[in-house]
């Protein structure tokens, strides 16, 4: 059972990182960015390319991997900003349906664009950049050191984001736009710039999650963003979409629930997605604002 908890918490960290980006974008411009899961996948792909294309990286070991992680975050962040500028910004005053459809289109462009360049086969992460095996026993389970490191990195990113949103001028601008875009403009907030920044941060976090996913699981593919994006959204809804802590809490909850489901199905993982999405529908029915969301249900 301890093992289930550890597995769940680890999975939850990955979900939470992706859910954060989802939730930030939704909280600020009320857009479900369907392409978000694909940015996660894109991050893993470009990190893979950097790791294999640059000669001599291997000798730098773990330092190189972290360098690549940071570089990928910048690149995916840039991709997010680009997508926003090309596809979402011109439609900001258009009906919501147009925006959603554009987001679905962007998701397709990313998925099948990546398929074009990287192929449709599952890609194996370079062995040396995968996480080592050493493990520490905890009660009746074990946790690998790699997991601990990755969990620490994701928690650090989340805490850092928390400080950024709550403690800086830019973060305050973001919260202001989330409350009232027009009023923030009047108060001198550069709305376009702040929204771009939100896309940058959200996408960078998704990219980081992608690299970590590759480092840990060792295999990536062009469609992996679809299901994970959907799960991350579920996590965001469970925690309370638009709420940063909600995204983290939702991610961890979903990760735990999923591993527990597998545990109770005696290791058969074919029903875990059904349980997750069933939970999504249940939450939207009973408590659409999520665990931590505010109590105002917007109707439209």
């Amino acid at each position: 059972m301890t093992q289930v908890l550890i597995d769940g918490l680890f999975l939850g960290c990955v979900y939470a990182l992706i859910a954060l980006g989802y939730s930030m974008v939704y909280g600020i411009i009320k857009l479900l960015n369907f392409a978000h899961g694909d940015i996660f996948m894109f991050g893993a792909m470009i990190a893979f390319t950097m790791l294999t294309a640059v000669p001599g990286l291997q000798s730098a070991g773990i330092v190189a991997v972290f360098g690549v992680l940071i570089l990928s975050m910048f690149l995916t962040g840039g991709t997010g900003v680009l997508i926003e500028a090309v596809a979402y910004k011109p439609l900001r005053s258009a009906p919501r349906l147009s925006l959603l459809i554009t987001a679905v289109g962007m998701s397709f462009v990313l998925e099948y664009g990546v398929k074009q360049f990287w192929g449709s086969k599952s890609i194996t992460w370079p062995q040396w950049a995968q996480m080592g095996a050493g493990s520490i026993p905890i009660f009746d389970g074990t946790i690998t050191i790699s997991r601990l490191v990755l969990m620490a990195v994701s928690i650090a990113l989340m805490v850092g984001l928390g400080f950024y949103i709550n403690g800086t001028r830019q973060g305050r601008a973001m919260r202001a736009i989330a409350l009232d875009q027009r009023a923030s403009t009047l108060m001198g907030v550069d709305v376009n710039r702040t929204i771009s920044l939100v896309f940058f941060i959200g996408s960078a976090l998704a990219g980081a999650a992608g690299v970590m996913f590759g480092m840990y699981y060792g295999a990536i593919g062009f469609m992996m963003g679809f299901l994970l994006g959907l799960k991350a959204f579920t996590a965001a809804v469970i925690g309370g979409i638009g709420n940063m802590y909600g995204a983290m809490l939702g991610g961890l909850t979903l990760g735990l629930i999923e591993r527990t489901t597998v545990y109770f199905c005696n290791g058969d993982d074919s029903w875990k997605d059904v349980v997750s999405f069933g939970l999504l529908i249940l939450f939207l029915t009973l408590r659409p604002t999520g665990i931590l969301g505010d109590r105002v249900v917007e109707r439209m």
């Binding site: 919501r96 147009s98 462009v109 999504l280 029915t285």
Partner: protein, 376 residues
């Protein structure tokens, strides 16, 4: 004063604004699809044309949800799967003819529509998008893992292998497989099936839905789509209106699923992927949301492209181009290829506007508001 505000007549050929043009085009299309088997009744052509007509039927169903009611459904194929499985299970478990399973399919889709639409349609419309996406995945995974035995103990639904030996349509003692002899001309099963699907798609899909859209309910859908608060103020029950649209869409998809199951005579769970839902959505969006000719063309386009593209690589990468097309259409032509308000594509509203503006400028009056205020 008031007389100056009358819009000037269009300076484009009068026939482009004539509803009869649309009628003529519709008749040409109908004649074409009915005459086609006389020209080419090869198995290949019949196969992909039947499929194209099923897409048209599906597209018209999704058009109700997305085009008229303005609800984004990303898991539309879930209902298609429910329809296919329901008809398969009913006909095999109870040994009833295919037509007798139709009410079962309809009821199953209505129930599924209420389960999914009921709670989520009360929320913001973008939640529906994601819930339907999740629902689509639930149905896909369930279909892959489902195993049911027939009452006599033989395997019926076999998990990843789906269902086999779906019954062909039969009426009384006559089944499609027997073929038909008319005046010495023998009509094969496939051709009969093509005519059957085409008739259903045209009558129930195209004609039925476009009639529905012009009626009281259809106008309510459009009103809710354009401004929910205003619609509510006008006495429309927005929730009932939306859920009706959603259920009608579900039933149409279920019937399409039944048709598709009887076309292939088997059901494969791998065909219920998100891609399929997205493809139908593309047909509706690219063709023109809420536009009957647009959706018919869009569905034909989306289904025939892989068959028409000789270049294999292009057909393989079509989703990339479809994705780009989706974004480009939304950015530059949000009403789609054939906007619902136009008689013909590019029968140009814009020319109209430009002419009005020029006339107004000549008269020295600013008759048209150039800027639309956007309030949130």
């Amino acid at each position: 004063m008031a007389s100056a505000t009358i819009a000037p007549a269009l300076k484009q050929p009068a026939w482009t604004n004539d509803r009869n043009v649309l009628r003529v085009l519709a008749i040409v299309f109908v004649v074409f699809v009915y005459v086609l088997p006389l020209i080419d009744d090869s198995t290949k052509t019949m196969d992909f044309m039947t499929k194209a007509m099923i897409y048209v039927f599906l597209g018209m169903g999704l058009n109700v949800v997305v085009g008229y009611a303005g609800l984004l459904d990303l898991g539309y194929i879930a209902f298609y799967a429910i329809g296919a499985y329901t008809c398969g299970i009913l006909t095999q478990a109870f040994h009833i003819p295919q037509w007798a399973a139709v009410p079962g399919v309809v009821v199953a889709c209505i129930i599924a529509g209420i389960i999914i639409g009921g709670p989520t349609l009360r929320l913001r419309s973008d939640y529906l998008a994601i819930v339907t996406l999740g629902f689509g995945e639930i149905i896909r995974v369930t279909a892959r893992n489902l195993t049911i035995d027939a009452p006599d103990g033989s395997p019926m639904v076999r998990g990843p292998s789906g269902m086999a030996n779906i019954e062909q349509w039969s009426f009384g003692g006559w089944s499609f497989t027997d073929g038909l002899n008319i005046g010495g001309m023998f009509i094969r099963e496939q051709v009969i099936f093509y005519y059957f699907v085409t008739t259903i798609a045209l009558v129930l899909g195209v004609f039925g839905i476009s009639r529905l859209a012009n009626g009281r309910l259809g106008r309510a859908w459009k009103a809710v789509r354009d401004d929910e608060d205003a619609a509510e103020a006008m006495g429309i029950n927005t929730y009932t209106t939306k859920i009706t649209a959603y259920i009608i869409g579900a039933v149409w998809a279920g019937l399409a699923g039944q048709l598709s199951a009887t076309q292939q005579l088997s059901i494969a769970p791998t065909s219920f992927e998100f891609l399929f839902s997205a493809l139908i959505l593309m047909a509706v969006v690219i063709g023109g949301m809420g536009s009957t000719p647009g959706v018919v063309l869009g569905a034909m386009f989306v289904s025939l492209v892989p068959n028409l593209l000789r270049n294999y690589e292009w057909a393989e990468n079509r989703y990339l181009y479809f994705g780009i097309l989706l974004v480009v259409v939304m950015l530059f032509r949000p009403k789609g290829f054939w906007p619902a308000t136009d008689i013909l594509p590019w029968s140009s509203e814009k020319i109209h506007k430009w002419l009005t503006a020029r006339k107004a400028a000549k008269a020295g009056k600013d008759l048209i508001a150039t800027e639309e205020d956007t309030y949130e």
